[in-house]
């Protein structure tokens, strides 16, 4: 289908009352995945890399878990409404979509997070195979690629000014039912080629053996301790539980949190086990390449490069891991 036909289809989804999320230029210089107000707002074509990820569609930055009301001597707990609105994510990158199967494992492990899974079931992801990439991309280093299909319900491959639709799941098929090329797979791919830059196994190996290495503190000197990397990461999922309200009523809510904040591990005693910023940077790499794979069998990184793109100080997974790659032969 052509761009205009795709836009028309998006307009139909919107008209049918579905929530549609896609890349939008919210202001000059800022592109974000956002709820579309109209199909015209959707950015199509060229290098479109929103600063954020699509995780917010299933794991919002702020989410009410339940509310409470105090009446006399009684306390009433109120669960949030159960229905999750049908939503469609369009124009996601394969590295964004691949994050969700990784997150599914976490949200259905020792406790099944119903709110997450309800939203997940109500969401259809349409990815766009990448025709371009930038210096921050490294999806092929973590086992993905510009047309990796993992997590996508349908994938659009642009070629010759048209999109070819690859439907990958029933949900994806339902969206594009009736479209001429639906179901087709053969297409002269225009996908970009990203060179593999490092071996995640070796990163895990380095992490395992260099917990106390001065490397971490040296290479985190520029880190300012903000959460820009974690909050724009498609798979970072740490959260904080807060109570907001007063003696008569309020909510218990879940907000994103990030391991780069000193407050993240600060004990009530005042002791902080991750005392220096280097310890926190180490935790980020550890979690992604060593701890999560050990527990769930896969790397907690999709190679999107958002961390480095958004870092005020030019850090991120790729810069740090490249240092490990370059440093390791010397160390070993």
């Amino acid at each position: 289908m052509t761009r205009e036909q795709l836009r028309q289809l998006v307009a139909e989804w919107l008209a049918a009352g579905k929530a549609v999320i896609g890349p939008v230029r919210v202001k000059p210089g800022t592109v974000l995945y956002t709820r579309l107000a109209s199909a015209d707002a959707l950015l199509l074509g060229g290098w479109v890399r929103p600063a954020n990820s699509i995780k917010e569609a299933v794991f919002p930055r702020h989410e009410v878990l339940y509310s409470y009301r105090v009446e006399g001597n009684g306390i009433e707990l109120v669960d949030p409404a159960e229905e999750a609105r049908e939503q469609i994510v369009i124009g996601a990158h394969p590295c964004d979509a691949a994050a969700w199967p990784i997150l599914d494992k976490l949200f259905d492990w020792d406790y099944r997070d119903e709110q997450y899974h309800r939203r997940r079931a109500a969401t259809t992801v349409v990815t766009m195979a990448c025709t371009e990439h930038d210096e921050h991309c490294f999806c092929t280093s973590v086992g993905l690629g510009p047309e990796a299909e993992r997590g996508s319900d349908a994938m659009l491959v642009e070629g010759g000014g048209e999109f070819q639709v690859r439907t990958l799941t029933e949900k994806g098929g339902a969206l594009f039912a009736g479209c001429a090329s639906a179901g087709g797979t053969a297409c002269a791919t225009t996908a970009t080629t990203v060179a593999a830059l490092f071996d995640p196994q070796r990163v895990a190996g380095f992490a395992r053996e260099h917990f106390d290495d001065p490397f971490w503190r040296q290479h985190a000197l520029a880190c300012l301790g903000c959460g820009a990397c974690a909050y724009t990461c498609p798979v970072c999922h740490c959260f904080d539980i807060v109570d907001e309200g007063n003696a008569r009523g309020g909510v218990r809510a879940r907000n994103w949190d990030a391991c780069q904040f000193p407050m993240f591990t600060l004990h009530a005693s005042g002791h902080n086990p991750r005392h220096a910023q280097g310890d926190r940077q180490r935790q980020r790499i550890y979690h992604k390449f060593y701890l999560y794979p050990e527990k769930f069998g896969e790397i907690l990184c999709t190679g999107c490069g958002n961390c480095a793109r958004n870092c005020p100080a030019g850090l991120g997974v790729l810069p740090l891991v490249s240092e490990i790659r370059d440093a390791e032969p010397v160390q070993a």
């Binding site: 800022t30 600063a51 930055r61 105090v70 000197l221 903000c226 907001e244 008569r248 909510v251 005020p312």
Partner: protein
Amino acid sequence: MSGGAGTSGSSAAASLAAGASGSAASGGATSERGPGSGATSGAGVGGATGTSGARTGSGSVASGGAGASGSTGSGAGANRGTGTSGGAVSENGAFEPKIVAFVCNWCTYLGADLAGTARLEYPPNVRILRLPCTGRIDTNLVVKAFETGADAVLVSGCHPGDCHYTAGNYHARRRWMLFRHLLEVVGFDMRRIQFTWISAAEGRKFQQVITDITEQTRALGPYRPYDGAAQPAGLPDAGAVADGREPASTPAAAAETALRETAARLLSAGTVKVVIGYGANGPVFVTSAADVSRLVWNGRSRANLTTYLKRPEVRALGRPAIVVKGCDERALVVLEKESQVDRKDVHVIGMACAGMGQPKCAACDTLQPRFADETIPAGAGPEETRGADRYAAVESLLRMPPDERLAFWTAEFDRCLKCYACRQVCPLCYCERCLADKNRPQAIDTSPHRKGNFAWHLSRAIHLAGRCVGCDECTRVCPAGIDLRLLNLALAQTAETEFGYRAGMDRAAEPPVGAYSLQDKEEFIR
């Protein structure tokens, strides 16, 4: 009404505000109608306790239903726990505004007391919170008051010359000039914030002020936070003003070589232990003369590196040399003034700059560093000044109607993720524990929802009032593209036009916050 709520509300009030015995402040006024309703109606509006107060039967003059138990307001108050609903409603269905008055202990509180003992009648809509002095009233308390359901806020203290702490009211007056300009730029309805001087002898003035504010607020209707602000009418071009010039048109290569030579000299002589400078991808910390080739100087040398002087890991490296542009250097001046940096302990390498293509560069008048220990290129020519009006972006924002401004900021703040990159990158945000991280009590909601985001950004901005040097790092690093520089600019504008002060320009000048002048404007004070 809910008795339980009333009880908790009044105990909170007792600890926070109305601790004094015989505080007939507003009780006196209502006692003619409802003798049993005396006491005080000082409701703890969560300024410090986080609980929104329900008043305990403070009569019902306005609603007409007198009587000992006539607590018309508390039922409605109980529904306002989260501060999202607006407007209490009286028994007859009329809107009853809730006015929160932050008053000083020595003048206005006694003025209110006098109004009570003199049996002067005034509306029971006011909740009085007594603080030692207007100089002690944190602007965050005002934000909190609105969050928890106030429809209007009054701040009132001693007349000029009357302050029992000599000058607290002068400090307050100055701080309020800044805060009011910030609120104006955000598009807040300024009719909901009043400032008055009421002495202990002015019971009548207190009566009149409360009556007027109540009536005015009644006419305005309930305060609905950030309501009707869902769709911005269109983003102003403010802030999008690009420099238009290619960054760093100076012979950057020569400057880069000179910089590396300087760094090598300093490191090998042992003058400094580390050179904090720009690298190819971000800041670098060069500790050996052999590594100076890691230093670069080009059109992407945008970061303000002075922020690293506050980081303990960097301090641990030993005496630093730091690479600054003329604009970055202003932060050093402020840090020195605030005793955060001792210039003797820092070697400053100034880089003459031709602009980095950022909006701030269009109006830059500090292309040439002025206080550096050495400047590259050495003996660079006279300071060039760009002609653009540095406050043009604020002016264009102020030309929008207030509700459009509010819509603009609502759209901006709605994108905030609370990643705190703005705070972390700021050279002047050096508190060991930020107000936003304090949770006993929770001063600012940590949630990245609209309420929490407004509270955070207003707080961030006001804490930088008269201090921000306009390096715009907060704006550069924001992943959501929020135009934070406009808030900083607004406050810088007030500091310059009202107090003739520009942060970081003059090492000897007295900062506007923490000082005062008897000539400060007070046309906004009744």
